[in-house]
Amino acid sequence: MTGRIGVITFPGTLDDVDAARAVRLAGGEAVRLWHGDDDLRGVAAVILPGGFSYGDYLRAGAIAAFAPVMRPVLDAARRGMPVLGICNGFQILCEAGLLPGALVRNAGLRFVCREVALRVENRSTPWTSGYRSGAEITVPLKSGEGRYVADEGTLAELEAAGRVVFRYVDPAPSGALHDIAGVCSADGRVVGLMPHPEHAVDPLTGPGADGLAVFASVFASVVDAELREDRM
């Protein structure tokens, strides 16, 4: 019962198989969770993968934020469980109020799918502890509503507190403010990012394996926590 990491599937979620594969490659056990579930089946961390939940016709993530499974996710996040939102998952976490700001239509108005370079600017979260500080990684970005926005005050706060976890090295293809690719909650446990580390876990099918450390980090972190609990 170690390293159980939940991967949520909402109707319209697409990258759940990829997130589950990444968890397995990192050594963990991927536990599939369904949008209608009302508990998290004992997982130690949870991932909201990419896709277009409920079609995302209204606003990305807006409808999924109210799915039954989000209630236990909110509770667990408050207790400090590591939560990761990738792309649509990030949008859902913002809509659900777990992360500040919002993701709006790309400045170029088109869906953008390409490999991007990111700088890991905060390695104190359970999702980034495995990276060297300041590491530059290459992962795919693929989204139409990926432009991170927040009001000036929020942005200043995020910057001051080191809560910008991932930043685009080159100008953000989405036009994201401050070139922000990913942010975390005040306690650092909840992380959301637009690019897809789960698509960069094997050079055969992605730009490389730079994304694997996200999943290895959280695996190490939850296994570590479990060991400590056992000892207590």
Partner: protein, 754 residues
């Protein structure tokens, strides 16, 4: 429909009022077709029956103009070749065994006319439709390829149509979670009023999961599931797809002829169907596409036990006041129709409920030999389903080689001025690389998700898209589509073979073994004898070519009436080839490899520039002879590539097609971000720009050089030089820096489309 009386037209009424006037002509039927319907039924058809027959007997559904020619595909498929097909022409999509208990299915379909009218939705629903075809075979759809053709790149209408089409393909495919792994983008004036939006979908399944569209087992239930039925695309197939755009005046109330897609509903439908298949709850299945329920019910019944009864009141409708004729011909998207054993109905509905997919029992299989449809307790359709689905009209359209063909053939490119100085040659290479048909496709492919599901091994810029099918064994498939319509205009028989040869070569160049063919035959009006001749020639060329290569044509699609006024498009038989890789880790990407790798040209180069990209870009010229076809050489080349890939003797490769060796070198250098030093074999202009077939550029690691040469055998091979450095240096020409090349190659589409 305005002609419908306020009360329903029933079989009883039809028998009682044999002389009632009917709008068969407005529905696109000919006098003799209407007479035949009356003869089949022994009375006049009801309005619902008339709607059913008219949509099912339209060109789009009945293949009435093409049938007599398409039979040739079957006649030319040798029994041994046929054996590898688990399903072939006539099924929703062809299925081939790809080893290890896996099967792959693939098919292309056109959505040309709707995409001109409403580019986004037309293209989107084109993706949705072909995905359901593949799903209906029992397979999980795993990838999409989108061969697209538009008018001149700079034309204002292209700026309207192209961005919408690309956004539509992406908007649907991306939301559906299917990687787009390839496509084509071709500009030619002949497509100006008539873009071609073809979409190929490939699917994979365990062989035992193969499902067929048959309604077998008397008493089995017919279940309609997915989206509800509205007035979408009523008359879409029969009116829109069977007449040119200007041909309005069908006398019907103006209903939207374009459908709107809901990819979210389709995604859920896909997952729901796959769970139903896995649970063994499906006895037969058919997707609802053109002609909607009319098509699904009549085809299922016709291919099965021959009878079906349907209660139309049970169909969940979205609009109020829909008539039986409207419900039967609605083309609402994202619907499927399944045949389910009575004992499985509860389980079937439970799976649908889990996915929140509405599902309704609408009828059952009978042995009456009739398709009987009731509405409010009265019979509105009572017909022999075979006469609707499989025994529609057959035309033997007149065909004639157009007299202008000789002039076209005589206007060879020989007298066109060729670049001669090193500076001219260099400038030509750059200008060609920046031309709309050869420049980078990233503006398009960057709008498509190619990563989703994590099995995409090659996509953007690859010769063939490569997908892993089995994560454990690493078995996978490769797919490419091709067609050089200018070659087809010069000689449709050879042009179709060249399209086949190119797709076959692209698959082989990726390291895969080609195993099957599909097609999408886009032509002008079948009522034009010249077009009919092109069509017949292309079919024969393709069938004969596939027979020589020993791979079956497993299916396809015909799109006629692609013309503006009386000017048809260039004949465009798009050919798709599927290949198998035992281990996708041994695929060969595009490129020149690493510094020091040897660059070789495989195949023979001739002074062949008829229909070439050079003649088109530099002189706006089309005439002469297409390149020679040598299918034996193509097959030998493919065998060499497959064995060299298996033995690790190739680092990179790229096939030669439009733009010849010059363009292949440019693309390969840019893909590897590495330059090359090259000595041209023979006269520089011909070596650079001729478009002789059966040629591939390969990069061989030094350590594998001897092994590679041993494998070459009979295949002509010449060493061009080595990879390395920051520029493309062609002996005798001023060097081409990679940055300059990339600038030229990358800038064109963004400059045109933003």
């Amino acid at each position: 429909m305005t002609h419908l009386a306020s009360t329903t037209d029933t079989v009883e009424k039809a028998s009682a009022t044999p002389g009632a006037p009917q709008p068969w002509r407005e529905l696109g039927l000919r006098a003799e077709e209407y007479a035949r319907i009356r003869q089949i039924l022994g009375r006049r058809p009801t309005e619902a029956e008339l709607a059913v027959y008219s949509v099912m007997w339209s060109e789009h559904c009945s293949y009435k103009s093409s049938k007599v020619h398409l039979g040739y595909f079957g006649q030319t498929t040798a029994p041994a070749v046929r054996e590898r097909m688990l399903a072939g022409i006539g099924e929703n999509a062809g299925v081939v065994d790809i080893g290890d208990g896996w099967a792959a299915t693939f098919k292309i379909e056109s959505h040309n006319h709707p995409s001109y009218v409403e580019p986004y939705q037309g293209a989107a629903t084109g993706v949705g439709g072909i995905v359901r075809d593949v799903l209906a075979m029992g397979a999980r759809p795993i990838g999409v390829v989108d061969p697209l053709r538009f008018g001149p790149a700079g034309a204002p209408d292209t700026a309207r149509v192209l961005p919408g089409v690309v956004a539509g393909v992406g908007g649907y495919g991306n939301r559906l979670g299917l990687p787009t792994i390839g496509g084509e983008l071709v500009f030619d004036a002949s497509y100006a009023g008539n873009p071609l939006v073809n979409v190929l979908c490939v699917g994979a399944m365990r062989t035992e999961q193969l499902h067929l569209a048959r309604a077998r087992g008397v008493g089995n239930k017919v279940v309609l599931f997915g989206a509800s039925t509205g007035r979408d695309g009523i008359g879409g197939v029969s009116v829109l797809a069977s007449q040119t755009f200007s041909g309005e005046g069908s006398g019907r109330r103006k209903l939207p002829s374009v459908q709107v897609g809901d990819p979210f509903t389709e995604k859920v439908l896909v997952e729901c169907c796959l769970e139903l298949f896995a649970a063994g709850l499906v006895a037969g299945i058919q997707d609802l596409g053109g002609a909607g329920l009319s098509c699904a019910t009549s085809e299922l019944a016709s291919a099965g036990d021959g009878g079906m009864s349907v209660t139309l009141d049970a169909v969940p409708v979205r609009a109020t006041g829909m008539t039986p004729a409207e419900i039967l011909s609605s083309e609402s998207q994202e619907r499927m129709c399944a045949v389910v054993r009575p004992a499985d109905v509860a389980g079937f509905l439970a799976v649908c409920a889990k996915w929140e997919v509405p599902a309704t029992v609408i009828g059952e299989v009978t042995d009456s030999g009739r398709l009987v449809v009731t509405w409010h307790g009265e019979t509105v359709v009572d017909v022999p389903p075979r006469t609707v689905a499989h025994e529609g009209p057959t035309y033997h359209r007149p065909l004639r080689r157009p007299p202008t063909q000789d002039e076209l053939r005589a206007a060879t490119p020989d007298r066109l001025r060729r670049p001669s100085t090193p500076e001219e040659l260099r400038a030509t290479i750059l200008a060609m690389a920046a031309s709309p048909n050869l420049c980078s496709r990233s503006w398009v492919s960057d709008q498509y998700d190619r990563y989703v599901r994590g099995n995409t091994v090659c996509a953007q810029g690859a010769d063939a898209g490569v997908l892993r099918v089995d994560e454990t064994s690493q078995r996978g498939v490769a797919v490419a589509t091709d067609c050089n319509a200018r070659f087809c205009a010069l000689d449709p028989y050879l042009g179709a073979q060249l399209a086949l040869a190119e797709a076959y070569r692209n698959v082989a160049t990726s390291g895969a073994v080609p195993v099957a063919v599909t097609n999408c035959l886009n032509f002008g009006s079948p009522e034009d004898p010249g077009v009919m001749w092109q069509f017949q020639q292309a079919v024969c060329g393709l069938a004969d070519g596939a027979a020589v290569l020993g791979i079956p044509v497993t299916g396809g699609n015909v799109s006629f009436y692609n013309q503006t006024g009386s000017t048809p498009i260039l004949p465009t038989p798009v050919v798709g080839v599927l290949g198998v890789l035992d281990d996708v880790r041994r695929r060969i990407p595009v490129g020149v490899g690493l510094a020091g790798d040897g660059l070789w040209l495989l195949g023979r180069t001739r002074d062949e520039l008829g229909g070439s990209e050079w003649a088109h870009v530099v002189h706006g010229h089309l005439g002469g002879h297409p390149p020679e076809v040598d299918l034996a050489a193509e097959a030998a080349l493919a065998r060499l590539l497959a064995s060299a890939a298996r033995e690790g003797a190739l680092r990179r490769a790229h096939d030669l097609s439009e733009g010849g060796l010059a363009q292949a070198l440019v693309e390969a250098c840019l893909a590897s971000d590495t330059g090359a030093q090259v000595t041209l074999p023979g006269e520089a202009f011909v070596a650079l720009f001729a478009e002789s077939s059966a040629r591939v550029l390969v990069a061989v690691p030094p350590a594998a050089a001897q092994r590679f040469l041993d494998l070459c055998g009979e295949v002509p091979h010449v060493r061009l030089g080595v990879a390395g450095g920051g520029s493309l240096e062609i002996d005798g020409l001023p060097r081409l820096g990679l940055a300059e090349l990339r600038g030229a190659w990358d800038a064109t589409l963004p400059a045109l489309f933003g």
